[in-house]
């Protein structure tokens, strides 16, 4: 394996592509490479190249979650999502951009079952152990997207700038399809540079997890109200961060036998989130 430390973004994007991966905090990528879940013969360390810090509504994608959780200028939903994510050390290491690209915690996927998300035909979780899995968008793959931060950004209507485009954060994600199993596809060499997070009138993030700290969301509910419009997004309930059209949309959930309880939790947390706004 090779590790490159390019001195400019141009050099970095040129180095990225086939067989190489960009590394910032490494909290996700390093274990995935070691486990053979991500193939990379070259790692490109871009930690010093990705913008870091806050400038008005702009957040550098290299800003760590630890920096954001104490940042008074950002919306409450984002701050709380950062505060309740992962562990202190992981928040110290992990960048907000990298957090958006993290893979599911589905044990079948992590243990390299030849599942749908890995390019196979079946979702092993659906017929197996799936209590932490999806209640929406789970027809082909029942994995749950683990990012608290992504749900918050989707609810906040945030957008992102990459080395090649600007797009709403919500548009980064797509359910896996027969043609493409990647739920957050970036172009080869594309790096997330910064986020633009509009300031809502009010926002909130509520998280149900199996421990008081340091667990992925069973259900995370982010809600943001801006000029009378409320957006709700959920973490941990679908293969991607899930934008909920309305509280009633929970009636359309398609839980698995062992994930029905997540609908109950989501109902309670959505109601509480709306009350809190």
């Amino acid at each position: 394996m090779e590790l490159l430390r390019p001195s400019s973004l141009e050099e970095a994007t040129a180095a990225l592509g086939n067989g190489s991966r960009a590394l910032v905090g490494g909290t996700e990528l390093v274990p995935l490479v070691r486990d053979g879940l991500v193939q990379a013969d070259t790692l490109v360390d871009v930690r010093d190249l990705i913008p870091r810090g806050i400038d008005g509504s702009r957040i550098g994608a290299g800003t760590t979650l630890a920096e954001l959780e104490v940042e008074p200028q950002i919306p409450e939903a984002l701050r709380e999502a950062c505060r309740l994510a992962a562990s202190p050390q992981l928040r110290n290491m992990g960048s907000v951009g990298g957090n958006l690209l993290q893979s599911t915690r589905c044990w079948y996927w992590r243990l390299k079952y030849p599942c749908y998300l890995h390019g196979g035909d079946v979702c092993h979780a659906k017929a197996g152990e799936h209590r932490e899995h999806a209640i929406f968008g789970n027809e082909r793959c029942a994995s749950a997207h683990p990012s608290d931060v992504a749900a918050a950004l989707v609810a906040l209507g945030a957008s992102m700038r990459t080395t090649s485009r600007e797009l709403p954060v919500a548009d980064l994600y797509r359910l896996p399809t027969d043609d493409n199993r990647d739920v957050a596809p970036l172009e080869p060499g594309e790096l997330i540079l910064d986020l633009d997070v509009p300031t809502p009138d009010s926002s909130v993030y509520l998280k149900a997890m199996e421990r008081q700290r340091y667990a992925f969301p069973l259900v995370g509910v982010a809600a943001a109200r801006t000029a009378g419009t409320t957006r709700i997004a959920l973490a941990g309930v679908a293969p991607i961060p899930w934008l909920l059209a309305s509280p009633e949309a929970l009636d359309e959930a398609t839980p698995l036998p062992r994930t029905a309880y997540k609908v109950d939790i989501a109902r309670a947390l959505v109601r509480r989130a709306l009350e809190a706004l």
Binding site: W107, G128, E129, A208, R211, Q212, Y214, Y261, D264, I265
Partner: protein, 753 residues
Amino acid sequence: MARLIKTEKEVEGRYTEQWIVVDEDALDQWPEGPLEVVGREVPRIDGHDRARGLAGYTADVRLPGLLQAAVLRSPHARARVKSIDLSPALAADGVRAAVGPDDIEGLTDEPAYMGAAVAAVAADTFGAARAAIDLIDVEWEELEPLLDPDEAVKQGSLLDESVTYERGDFERGLAEADAVVEAEYRTQVVLHNSLETHQSIAHWEDGGLTIYISTQYIWGVRAAVAKQTGLPEDKVRVICLAMGGGFGSKNSPGDYTPIAIELAKRTGQPVRCALTRREENVAAGNRNATIQRITAAARADGTLTALGGEFVNAIGFSGWSSSTEGPMQMLYACENMRTVKHSAKLNLPPMAAFRAPGFVEGTFGLECLLDELAAKLDIDPLELRRRNYADSDRMDERPFSSKQLAECYRRAEPHWQRRNEVRASSSGPWKRGVGLASQIWYGGGGPPSYAWVRVGSNGHAQVVTAMQDIGTGSRTAMAQIAAEELGIPVDHVHVSLGDSARGPYATLSAGSSTIPSMGPATRSAAADAKRQILEIAAQRFNLEERVLDLKGGKIVSADGGAWELTEITGLLEDAQILGNGARGPNPTGMRVLTFGVQVAEVAVDVETGEVRVDKIVAIHDVGRVINALGASSQVEGGIIQGLGHTLSEERLVDPHTGRVLTQSLDAYKLPTIADVPEIVTDLVDVPDPHLTNLGAKGLGEPPIIPVAAAVANAIRDATGADVRSLPISREEMLKALREAEAKKRVPVGTASS
């Protein structure tokens, strides 16, 4: 004088008879209550070394030429190795040796659980060894695994014969009852997850074999390795200086030790075989799951007329069948009893003892069922327990050597009385309640166990014994006991342990047995040294020996004389006083047990299923307390492990393939500091008058036993929901709440039983 006796030895509820040599235990017990050093709060004497990262764990041992092993473990729950070719691994860079199923007993070509060891390699680095494992060419024939415990019982796939225990007339007891409750309780598989993974280093040297190993039983490893290798026992040296947790899972050499031994033999170099975290969570043992279909019956006044049930231990492919039915048989004075235990043998990873095996699981079922009964009878749950208090052991009518459970109940009263106040503090979706559960367990320790105490010319003492301190603080306890007996400060005592070549035989550190076994031996050795010092002092000062004593670092006489201890020990220059001590026998014809009660306060968010444990009061009778500080740490640690078992921990297995899914610590959720309730420790601290020269029992296991039941009973108090399956996840809690709601809606008069 040495005395040969035949005695009953108990480890985790399993009794064996054996011949032992003991010293007459002529010492009177010290008076009750805290003494000069014993019973006080003493920070652990090796605390700084451990905190600074200076303590040498097996994981830290570095030897010249040390090779690293990696193990090929079966990815299948049941398979046959049709062919295996080690040569690609042997040809890989840095690989020094490889072994397969034909080479040693610990490797198999018919793996019967995921994680069974099939082959292993030794290489210059762990990375090279790991990579070489992937090169081994194996052709597997996958076979259908047996995963369902009830199905296993039906098919007769049993690890042990089923055991039926009866006393009185169970059916008559049911017929005499005014109320009967029946329920099915289930407990899950939990994983020990000691932070130092299972590992050993094998080093052939000096015509023998040295094993460095993270173990709870130095001498057991020595005996097992001697047997495996055919070496005489004195050619096997076992070393464990500091140890990163075991909780019952490190009582034997495992599969990794024979692998390291064979690879070291083949390479002529020392070899480490260390499990990775993921191997640890597959192949290092577990607390087996249980199914408990149990019944309790009582008269209207609360007198139990019958207890019984069917207990299924879902054990995995090997291990042993712990006494899940034990609490039911032993805790209460119930005359009519019938228990049946089945030991299902499954294609799942082996069970290993885990902190009070069986009793943790069985207490959850029994103590929850008792609260269901109390509700049906409309009797206060604490009162129900008092009304069925056992004054003697109901298994064979032996008297207890001591039992302070009534005192524990008395001390629990004010905490229990808080329940109206706690319930009233419910607000919105958060419902609050209080629950309690009793604890019964072994923990008396026993012989054989030996210690030496030597006192040098500076008046400082050294306790020498080849025991292990697995993190409980037993090293510090030995220093306290020696200091107390010798009348010197605890920082004048050094404890040398952890090396079979440098100290006498010591017990295993399991079954809450280290302090009750080793403590009396250490006291007896210190007393021997003291006697010798006083003999010499009597000659030196022309006094009668009986007027002399050791106190406050001095030799004192009854008439007020006082001399520095060094005035005697200093005479000997570099020579030393050497005291020899042995653990005396257990009291004949008596049952030595530990008791306790815990009271839990919980809050439940009935909309999201979140359970928060706010407070646990732990009141236990473990005889004399040696270190009040370390004891409270043991209690807290047991409760926190118990809370993981109760709320968040569960090993998950794919129901089709039998593969373990929760191998890493993101998926398997140990409690964090943020999950810890307020814990109040209250130890009765009355010495057991019949037990040894100390009157001390063990404390490692008792505190974990009642946690799950106390919490589940508090949840019922708060919400009316019966939680009968562990862990109480959000899913489980919401399900129980839904069922409680449905039960409430059943019109009066149509409810069954």
